[in-house]
Symmetry: C2
Subunit: 348 residues, 2 copies
DNA sequence: CTGAAAGCGCTTACAG
DNA sequence: CTGAAAGCGCTTACAG
């Protein structure tokens, strides 16, 4: 496009500076062996003509485009597709990349299309690397998909399916442990868990942390207190009803695998006429924005998503530029953020 | 990158199919004048080799890359940079683009850098068009910036600074009118407005709607009830304090220019020990997600951001492909969403 | 209907 | 230190 707009090329710069195209290129790219006087003449010409190199022409010869594809996978319906934690990630990845002269391609795909779309995006060579936000995809499936991609890939908020894949994640076991321990420390013994999702690392790890805290406190694990959840808001609403129905003994507290599901639980319990935290306590994980303004200010496990995005961008830029010195797999730590959704039980 | 990975080019396809490169190209691109038997042979070779054309090589000759730069401008600090309404926009733009074979570049820039960054991005020729989410930039400034860009540009949730610029926006005057009218209909006469921002179309239009409703109801405009706000959450918190301090007569209701500032107001009034809606009613605009779960379920003006993103993407794809038939400026309508933050006054 | 050639805007050896 | 040439992967006239 840009009909009728003359585009300034390196030829124009070379002509104005009175040098060959190759010399202009060497000058602009700060290569060795250009007389400083010549370089200056070229730079002046370039700035006079307002020259910007065509990155795609460059990519053709350098075989690198300094572009990263961020791929977020979610459900088919856009309405259910809003984890504010991902937004923080997206912001900090993009800003870090842009600040360092990299571009970010954003791809929003449907979970069911991952097997087709991720290899396709990788193969299309629009970018030098992939950043994947595919938290809800089982390890096995993700591993298989990534076997087909020849580009460096980094996964976020989840463990890498194997040690070839880079990751920046959280200590998700600790997230589950901290949340559950906080409930136990407040006197709770019957604790529901919403968010079981077999094969999905974030879910398995958070559940593992839940069990770990139980064991440590000598509380017997009761599988009737565990229900599945897909980490979208709706499944919190559905899950809490199921939990109330299926549990052999009604829970006094619930830990949801993430805050989004906790929002669903708040809605669900309200519909059932059950008060938080008077009747049932609730704790989430992620610390998405504005939890303090909810009807029930939600106690949660806070994780550093902005930092995660920054590190992921740094890591991938290092890999692309070949000067990466960061560890392959980076794990960030989380901490509890106490608000008002957990009641202290005095019955012990 | 992709060290050591052999990349399949059109040459390989041509060789395997036993035709010339130009014929392979014509076959793949479905050009006229290729025998169907030849075409089939080429297609088979391409799929056998898993061939994907290099879009950047294509762009060099077609002078189009089927890529759109989405530019979001915000404050320097990422922490204050989270309007959920923008997220909906981003999701629907990107998904619509991707579904139609277009790529989306995401650029997150600082408001202060708009004058440098927007022309730079446009000039870098990484994309065929620009989608701008720069709601807080004054018309005059945006107009000046866009004079320097040779690419088609579309602005969202704001009026176009002149008729060369495309836009998909809301009837922001109506947003202000509907919100204020709803308060008036509920018996309020002293209504505060938070979010005055001279020169910024969204703010001016919403304020205009506010005044229009006042005039219609025969209520005199009181400038001590209007305070500025930059449409970020923090300015709601600061603004409501200022409103309480400066107003000649304490308002019984407040209309904030957007929901984000309303969140700040909820926080601010709570700190002052003032209850919503018992002491002061509150109404926002945008209908960001989960307002029904707030301490005070917020009544607001709902606007179709998903639809806006979809239309913006459609429009810009049409412009790029040269088959655009949509109007230059598209205005979507909003409607009230009643929750519980407005009290009916019976004193009239 | 098919193929050889030119060219998009760059960079990278290489000759001088 | 500088310039002419080749080539990255593609498409587009154009000749046959």
């Amino acid at each position: 496009l840009g009909v009728g707009v003359l585009v300034v090329t390196i030829k124009d710069v070379a002509k104005l500076a009175g040098v060959a195209v190759s010399t202009a290129s060497n000058a602009i790219n700060n290569k060795y062996g250009v007389k400083s006087e010549t370089r200056q003449r070229v730079m002046e010409a370039a700035s006079k003509l307002n020259y910007t190199p065509n990155p795609y022409a460059q990519s053709l010869v350098t075989n690198s485009i300094r572009n990263v594809s961020i791929i977020i996978s979610g459900p088919a319906s856009l309405n259910f597709f809003a984890n504010p934690a991902f937004d923080e990630l997206l912001k900090s990845i993009t800003q870090t990349l842009n600040t360092n002269g990299f571009q970010a391609h954003l791809n929003i795909i449907r979970k069911e299309d991952e097997g087709i779309d991720i290899p396709r995006i990788a193969q299309s060579r629009v970018s030098d690397a992939l950043i994947l936000i595919t938290t809800r995809t089982p390890d096995k499936i993700l591993e298989k998909i990534l076997e087909e991609v020849a580009l460096p890939a980094i996964v976020l908020i989840r463990s890498a399916p194997n040690d070839k894949v880079l990751c920046v994640s959280l200590d998700n076991v600790k997230c589950g442990y901290l949340a559950t321990k906080f409930l136990i420390d407040n006197g709770h013994k019957h604790i529901g868990f919403i968010g079981a999702l077999p094969g999905v690392s974030i879910a398995e790890q958070r559940l593992e942390g839940y069990k770990m805290a139980l064991v440590e406190a000598g509380i017997e694990f009761d599988d009737s207190l565990v229900v599945s959840g897909d980490y979208y808001q709706e499944s919190g609403l559905v899950g809490v009803r199921q939990l109330l129905r299926q549990s052999r003994q009604q829970p006094t507290a619930i830990f949801t695998g993430n805050d989004l599901m906790a929002l669903g639980v708040i809605e669900g319990l309200e519909q059932e006429g059950i008060s938080i935290p008077e009747d049932i306590s609730l704790i989430g994980s992620d610390n998405i924005p504005n939890l303090h303004l909810l009807r029930v200010p939600l106690t949660t496990i806070a994780s550093p998503f902005l930092e995660m995005g920054r590190l992921a961008a740094k890591k991938i830029m290092g890999v692309i530029d070949g000067d990466d010195e960061m560890p392959k797999q980076i794990i960030l730590t989380s901490e509890i953020r106490v608000r008002k959704s957990v009641k202290r039980l005095h019955s012990f």
